[in-house]
């Protein structure tokens, strides 16, 4: 459905952030994209959805294909109309608008299907029904994240990109968000889930990618990734021998480098 080929991305003409990444999101699946801070996850989203220009960024190589059409560098409103919508990092809800108005803003490109989408979102998030005329800025963090996801669903997308939906949420809420993502996927929407929370993302994904400093370093079956020694150490905080705590200080610097880099 979505296929990113060899994408290279530069900010301000000098900062090379993506060094030729490729990824595929098959129809109807959840694909997880993991990576540490600064790996280029959010940049990948911007490159796909066309929001790069705002940040003085440019795609210098590679292409983005969606359902067979080339959407490299297309205008964000075109991308949305084609059926890709995103939940931005940090929620970015319209704090001064009410919940209902936020959702209506989300349905900007979907005038005909608005009431159907509204029903779907309200069914997914009963909390939003209660708070529909509240000012969005006064919602709790979890409610804001639900609103952000709901707003993205108002466009009735074929592919939903979630950029760190678990950011800054309590474990219980993370679980709730995770279940919602699964539910959305079961309703027929493909999902590209971008996360730092590897445990959460890999537990629901059908395929996982791991990104580091602008490159894809690993990809594969989530179960396999979860068992990987490096993923365990660097993303899950586990070390082979249980109970034996390990300090980064004790590791020789060349050993700190992840094995996949050497």
């Amino acid at each position: 459905m979505l296929s990113v080929e060899n994408l290279e991305f530069v900010y301000n003409d000098v900062v090379l952030v993506l060094r030729g990444i490729s990824l595929q999101v098959p129809t109807g699946k959840i694909v997880a994209l993991l990576g540490a801070n600064g790996a280029g996850k959010t940049t990948t989203v911007r490159a796909i959805t066309g929001l790069a220009a705002v940040h003085e960024g440019d795609i210098t190589k590679g292409s983005v294909q969606f359902e067979g059409a080339d959407i490299t560098g297309r205008d964000p409103s075109d991308v949305v109309r084609l059926g890709i919508s995103q939940v931005m990092e940090g929620r970015r809800i319209f704090a001064e608008l009410t919940v209902l108005e936020n959702l209506r803003a989300g349905a900007y490109t979907n005038r005909a299907g608005m009431s159907a989408s509204m029903d779907r979102v309200m069914a997914l998030f009963p909390r939003l029904v209660e708070k529909r005329s509240a000012t969005a800025g006064y919602l709790s963090g979890g409610e804001q994240q639900m609103l952000a996801i709901g707003r993205a669903l108002m466009q009735n997308p074929k592919l939903l990109i979630l950029d760190e939906p678990s950011l800054g949420l309590a474990p219980l809420l993370v679980k709730q968000i995770r279940d919602i993502v699964v539910e959305i996927n079961q309703q027929g929407t493909s999902v590209l889930l971008i996360e730092q929370n590897a445990n959460m993302a890999l537990s629901i994904a059908h395929h996982g990618y791991i990104m580091e400093t602008g490159k894809m370093v690993m990809d594969g079956d989530p179960a396999k990734l979860l068992k990987d020694e490096d993923v365990q150490e660097f993303y899950l905080g586990l070390h082979g021998d249980e109970g034996d705590r390990k300090s980064f200080r004790d590791v020789k610097h060349y050993k700190r480098r992840k094995r996949w880099l050497s």
Partner: protein
């Protein structure tokens, strides 16, 4: 303003004078409110401080003079209809043309500047102001051009006050305009505009075409400015559109700052307050002209603005963290 002064002196002293002052102040205040609303809409949606807003007022009035007198829309196509209908039609056409002009200006001069420092865009609007005013001046000449409104100098007496028909129309039109703007901001496009004003990038991510919203905000601003322009250039304020029409913006400027630059409610309240203050000053402070000098009413708005800014630097209704140019 002189006209309120004249009317106020016709009814001597006491409560009559007070009500006369209030009506005159409301009439002036609604002009300021219309202007300030347009300014705030443009500022909120695009972050552009539009110094050409006064010129848009003049352009609006100029275009109405063009449609109503020069092109003579009423006489040419529907001579049998009552004058106020045909003239209103001409005025609507003129104001709509003014709105279109605002949109074209945005597309030609402001859109290419998106991403440049806001200060540069503000300076650009100063240039626009000069150019537009020059064009209007050239058309209006030294004597100005009348708008040929059907109400003329007729007045009505309501209780203790004498009100020109034009000001009654003006009050009605302003109320309609405010309601229309309020309704607009609840519509799909209006919600999109508010979303864009709040977070441009997030709005883009929803598929909102931000460029269109920019153009639309200029259209709206120019339409409101045009409506203000009509009432600023007919009886009792002026005899037509002239080189002085654009300067009504100087009166509205304190209203914008007082309301708080980014609040539409603030613009309306600010406009009315400044209008009333000017009117009151022209009636009650004339006795102090030996101390304050003559024409103190023209600067009373600025005095109020400065006093309010001392206490609330972001205006009465403004957001605290508004980015200033």
């Amino acid at each position: 303003m002189t006209d309120t002064l004249i009317l106020a002196q016709a009814t001597v002293g006491g409560i009559e004078q007070f009500w006369q002052m209030v009506v005159g102040g409301l009439a002036l205040g609604t002009i300021y409110a219309l202007l300030a609303m347009g300014f705030v809409i443009i500022f909120k949606a695009t972050q552009v401080v539009n110094f050409a807003h006064g010129a848009l007022v003049a352009v609006g009035a100029f275009l109405v003079a063009l449609t109503a007198v020069e092109i003579d829309v009423p006489g040419r196509w529907i001579p049998s209809a009552p004058t106020w209908v045909t003239w209103a039609l001409a005025a609507v056409l003129g104001v709509a043309l003014g709105g279109a002009a605002g949109m074209v200006l945005e597309r030609l001069f402001i859109r290419p500047m998106v991403g440049e420092p806001l200060f540069q865009i503000a300076i650009l609007t100063v240039g626009l102001d000069i150019v537009l005013r020059t064009i209007v001046d050239d058309f209006a000449g030294l004597d100005g051009r009348p708008l040929a409104d059907p109400w003329g100098t007729a007045t009505a007496t309501i209780g203790p006050v004498t009100v020109p028909h034009t000001q009654l129309v003006q009050l009605g039109v302003t109320v309609v305009a405010v309601v229309a703007v309020a309704l607009f901001f609840r519509s799909r496009t209006g919600v999109a505009m508010r979303a864009t004003a709040f977070d441009q990038e997030a709005a883009r991510a929803q598929g909102i075409t931000v460029g269109r919203i920019f153009g639309l905000s200029w259209l709206l601003g120019a339409v409101l400015a045009g409506v203000a322009g009509i009432f600023a250039s007919i009886f009792p304020r002026a005899a037509g559109v002239s080189s002085a029409t654009a300067f009504v913006a100087f009166g509205a400027f304190p209203a914008i700052i007082l309301g708080g630059l980014d609040s539409i409610v603030g613009a309306i309240v600010g406009g009315i307050v400044i209008g009333l203050a000017e009117s009151a000053a022209s009636v009650y402070l004339t006795g102090f002209s030996n101390v304050l000098g003559s024409g103190f009413s023209a600067i009373i708005g600025y005095v109020i603005m400065l006093l309010v800014l001392l206490i609330r630097p972001y205006g009465l209704f403004g957001t605290e963290e508004v980015r200033r140019v």
